[in-house]
Symmetry: C2
Subunit: 276 residues, 2 copies
């Protein structure tokens, strides 16, 4: 496995490849990231995984500084998983001048997580566009755990005509249902044992929808109250349509329930697709 | 020469090419466009020229509807010039859904022509990003007649890490100095004979700068007055530094004089680099 730090070297190295599969990450890799590399391994001649904690997508009061950086462990996991290249640009390589050309996504960037994290999806879209131009992958993989991110990015790829196939992979979960996330490491032992209740709540919403309950606002309110009474501070529990994350219209059958809630000082997100 | 209308067909066709040179245009080709194709002809295996009148870069009260469309003549000129492929997507191919992912350039988009044409450079940057992703050229060429556009786009390429070499070519002029432009066709005979005065005015500014005159605002004001007294309605005459089109700071030696002015109903732009 090679570790490459510069764009110029990466491009030189990738010239010899028939096809490139790409998994962009912020490091602190877990089984969810590794599963993404597995899904593309057989399809391409070269698997590139990037590690870059992207300041542009963090708000001023968010956890950029304390975001877990575990580079050596990450490289070990990549080596075991058969990744060919870890691309690890530093901040100067990614942003040699202040980034003032930005990708401006539409309204979807301002709802749900975007309402709580202003500028977040603009920052995500901009860095992913840059990474795609650096790596020029044939296939790129993202986990559905970050469902809104998946939507923003796959719509960006379509509208900018980017020559890359997007694979949105199912969320990998711990045995108790908790979606794997780098931020799970922030949880205390007590919080960790409570954390699967977020997914449990999503499953109750799913059951209600499948049972024909149709007052979506009532389901959302009830679920917020359930979590609040257990000590969570929910940002939102929201039933949306899958295609654009807007409110379901009469007749929409492909829905997704999205949740974001704080447990102590840690903010967790999760979601569950529901097809009626 | 091939004429291709769809992105899918274009990509299929270009797979066999070693290197692609790309000249994006809005059609109504003149010697300036053809000169761009000549400058890249020897360097690449395939020259692509696109023709697309991009609604996104026109304001609601601008000349989108009356912009000259001369597709058959354009194809003849391309054939003569040795262009390999004319890429002519229609509006549905370029914008199958309303374009709501946009490239947001920084402050440079709001000054000079951007102040007179709000949203213009956002529209230019967005369509050029899309075209680059459709064509995936190795080299792309733009004329310096649209100087601000050249700066916006070359900075976009750098900040988005687009894998394309930008060539910014000198403005091609008529024998009397008028910069070639599709909009010259709007001029009446009398206006056409007055039109070279814009370039003449730029040359007087250059002479003043080379002669050591240092009150830039005074030079600009004087030149506006000169043109106004001849019946022009200048939008701006502005001395800027070449790198970012901001106001020159003490010690800046690479300057450019930019002009935009209306003659009758036609808006002409031109510019002239001055190195002190």
């Amino acid at each position: 496995m090679e570790i490459i730090y510069s764009v110029a070297e990466l491009r030189m190295r990738l010239k010899q490849e028939q096809s490139v599969g790409f998994v962009p990450t912020m490091g602190n890799l877990h089984a969810g990231h590794i599963e993404l590399t597995r899904q593309v391994r057989e399809r391409v001649s070269c698997v590139v995984l990037s590690i870059f904690v992207n300041r542009l997508q963090f708000g001023p009061n968010e956890d950029f500084d304390k975001y877990p950086r575990t580079f050596l462990d990450d490289c070990d996991r990549c080596r075991e998983a058969g990744v060919d290249i870890v691309f690890a640009p530093d901040e100067k390589e990614m942003y040699p001048v202040p980034q003032d050309y930005l990708v401006e996504p539409p309204e979807i960037q301002h709802i749900l997580d975007g309402a709580v994290r202003p500028g977040h999806f603009r920052g995500v879209a901009t860095v992913v566009l840059k990474l795609f131009n650096m790596v020029q992958p044939h296939v790129a993989l993202f986990g559905k755990k970050d469902y809104q991110q998946c939507r923003v990015l796959s719509n960006m790829v379509r509208q900018f005509n980017l020559p890359v196939e997007m694979i949105l992979a199912e969320t990998v979960r711990a045995a108790d249902g908790l979606a794997l996330s780098s931020r799970n490491g922030y949880l205390t032992a007590a919080e960790r044992s409570e954390a699967p209740q977020l997914f449990a709540a999503l499953n109750r919403v799913k059951s209600a929808l499948l049972a024909g309950e149709s007052d979506l606002a009532a389901i959302e309110r009830r679920t917020v109250n359930e979590l609040s009474s257990r000590g969570w501070r929910p940002d939102y529990i929201s039933i949306r349509r899958q295609s654009d994350l807007l409110a379901p219209q009469h007749g929409d059958r492909d829905l997704v329930v999205l949740a974001a809630a704080r447990l102590g000082t840690t903010r967790l997100i999760d979601n569950l697709e529901v097809s009626l």
